[in-house]
Amino acid sequence: MTRNRISLEIEIPPQTRYLGLIGHIGEQLAREMGEYAGDSDVLAYTLNLVLTEALANAIKHAGCENPVLRVYISIEENDLCIQVYDQGKGFDISELPCPDPEELCERGRGIFIIRNLMDSVDYRKTESGNVLEMKKKLKTA
């Protein structure tokens, strides 16, 4: 039996004008996954949102050494993995506070949203830069 695998590698300039494009790619990818047993509209919105949040976060931390952000999206069987690389100074994801809904802060919800929608979220330094890695196990029919 052939293993189903989709892999995308995308490079974009670190500019917010491309958020819509990357979100749209995520939505279209979700709609192509016919074997997914869940609500494809929900998955499409989820991919749009986590890609948008991750890219916006990478743009904020992009640094100026490498004016390109790299995004990898892979789906193998029912394992979804998204990696977003930036070349900035990075941050400690474990120290990000959970936003307090009472405080009404205008910032600081991006990673919180990703954590709520994905099974695992990790941010670490690699030889290729910092990477935000997000994984989710997709339901299959």
Partner: protein, 122 residues
Amino acid sequence: MNITTETKDDATLLRFQEERLDAHNSQELKDYLVQLLENGAKALILDLSEVRFVDSSGLGALLSGYKNAGLRDSRFALAGLQTRVQSMFELTRLHKVFETHPSVEDALASLARGTPHDSKSD
């Protein structure tokens, strides 16, 4: 940012005519809302019925509008939230903060009744 503004029944009605409210256009909306409030707007109704996607930056811009309106004793209401957009408010627990209405007409009717916070979700 594509937005239209009109005055209706003592309210400033804003129609945000974009599919997305995200980090690309949220700062512009935030600045615009502050400008209207600084110019004396007493009630802002923001029609989001054309918006099918909001990210955390977009929520931040709306929160800024909400807080700035509160500082000036102005009213700030959202109208016409699509289902997925509404789910973002629930995910971040902000549905308990904003005054929301199914439509602009409902928001205007609420304004006419003078009941500013009767439609917050539980």
